[in-house]
Amino acid sequence: MLQISAVLLLVFLAICLISLSVGSVHIGLGQLLRSFSDILTGEHSLSSQEELIIVSVRLPRIIFAGIVGASLSLGGVVFQALLRNPLADPYVLGISGGSALGAIIGILIGAGSFYLGVPLLAFCGALATVFLVFVVSGGTRGPLLDNSLLLSGVVVNAFFSAAILFFLSIVNSLELHSITFWLMGDLARASMKEIGVAAVCLLLGFIWLYLQARTLNIIVQGEDVALQLGVSVESKRRWILIVTSLFTATAVSLAGIIGFVGIMVPHMMRLIFGSDHRLLLPAAVLCGASFLVAADTIARMVLAPAELPVGVITALCGAPYFIFLLKRKTN
């Protein structure tokens, strides 16, 4: 377990190094290490162009991509376990639709000119939607049923997509541009402070969830089994849903909607490492982070100096690899 996590961590760091070095300006490994030692010894003056690119452009973006990728794939693993459904992703309870609608409203009323205006509205939209899904599925009154939760999520998401389309059809072209950009997801937008917030949310969420890993294993076995093995399923599921929604909504509200990471990485991890969440949770965090950093690097490179939306890359490379993995496993 520890060894696997260590290997995955090394892979992640290697991908980060590559990502730091490539781009519209190529920075060699030697230069990279020199810049790092400069920074660590406090001697950096940010005088050289390379150091400036590393410290203020690439590094924050890589860290943010890692945090968002980790949040989405961790969220995916947990939602799949809670809903006992391998097709669930972190957006299944309406976090995507809700945050998108919140962001669109924010852009339309001009919240973009305030600090944290749009992300804050997106975050509120996401949480309000998750709460709405809770209410629709009857989870606020009675037991939290996986199927009715899933169905309510799908229905609420569909309703929100309609609302989003409505807004898209009535806005002017300038607003349309910034809304479309938000919807596609953008890793370059977050400030260092925002990245810090997302990192703290992810860290706290992960630590708490890891302590519940054995409980998650048992919840996956079904409600009756979990009850008879001494898990108070109801309250456990509720708390796990709330915590997971919080850090996922934070990541989505800052980065926009990046598809595919939250469903594909969890799947791959289950295929490779099995179902024990004590291994699955750290593996999903590290691979989700690696995957999104790699995808973002490619998105920066393909049409350099222009950039592709990272969501295009996640789907384009993710889907074929996933099919390959599935085929190999079923054979």
């Binding site: 799949q80 376990a81 006992r84 459904n85 391998p86 890891y210 302590l211 890993a213 054995r214 409980t215 294993n217 048992i218 996956v220 076995q221 079904g222 009756d224 089994v225 009850l227 008879q228 093995l229 001494g230 898990v231 108070s232 289950r270 099995g274 179902s275 024990d276 004590r278």
Partner: protein
């Protein structure tokens, strides 16, 4: 104080009554069989003893305490159940499934300790499942899966073990091994065993007491000789049978009249 005591229990699913004013008590650790036709409330009764569901009216007491007032974890330390079939969408290894039985006994730590592994392995030895500890649970045969679930329940180290038709998929050898194990645990560790079965002869030859359920009521409770009579079977199952003493042990033996 009774070990298990159900008082005037009623339970309905939607509008269909499943258990209707059902009462029974068990004072000492025995092996008890529950028999009855389909839909007579056997599985529901097990779930109520296990505290997975609560009676609508009446109460179920375990060691003198209402199941509603037990904490989930404490109840899981006292009562274990082997369900009919339990397939998760996500694959686990047989050993992982058995180790889950240690969850209620532990301090909810993140990892099992040496003792947990030792007890889980003993349970797997007793159920003859150690050979496929490292195989995937969903790829085992139905009988092997059933034995893994039995091992999980044994790993829970319960005082009361509930079995919901847990012998149906077992071959003859493992069935005999398992029933002998239950009797041995009953004698050496004062384990109470309550098993639901459709095999009336199996109930007759292995249970101290038999509960014959019919339409949610206890039609008959007592020793095999008291419960397994041609008249009772005719009334409850609506089939004609011949009941005579088993030449080996004198317990009632049922033969279908065709």
């Amino acid at each position: 104080m009774s070990l298990i005591c159900g008082q005037n229990i009623s339970f309905r699913y939607a509008e269909t009554p499943i258990l209707d004013d059902f009462s029974f008590a068990l004072a000492e650790p025995q092996v008890v069989a529950i028999i009855g036709p389909n839909g007579s409330g056997k599985t529901t009764l097990l779930k109520i003893i296990n505290g997975i569901i609560f009676p609508e009216r009446g109460q179920m007491m375990i060691e003198g305490k209402d199941t509603r007032r037990w904490s989930r974890q404490e109840l899981a330390r006292a009562v274990a159940i082997v369900p009919q079939e339990n397939l998760s969408i996500f694959p686990f290894y047989a050993e992982e499934i058995v180790l889950m039985g240690r969850f209620p006994q532990g301090s909810n730590a993140c990892f099992e300790d040496k003792k947990d592994y030792q007890i889980a392995h003993e349970a797997m030895e007793k159920t003859d499942t150690l050979a496929f500890a490292a195989r995937r649970y969903d790829q085992l045969s139905a009988g092997e899966r059933q034995r893994v679930l039995i091992a999980r329940a044994l790993a829970q180290e319960p005082k009361i073990l509930l079995l919901d038709e847990s012998t149906v998929f077992l071959d003859l050898k493992h069935q005999m091994q398992f029933l002998a194990l239950l009797r041995q645990l009953n004698i050496t560790q004062k384990l109470t065993v309550i098993f639901v079965t459709h095999d009336i002869n199996l109930a007759s030859s292995h249970a101290d007491r038999i509960i014959l359920l019919y339409c949610g009521k206890n039609y008959a409770i007592g020793s095999p000789a008291e419960v397994i009579t041609a008249a009772n079977i005719k009334e409850v199952y609506d089939v004609d049978v011949l009941v005579d003493p088993n030449p080996q042990n004198g317990l009632p033996r049922m033969t279908l009249i065709t």
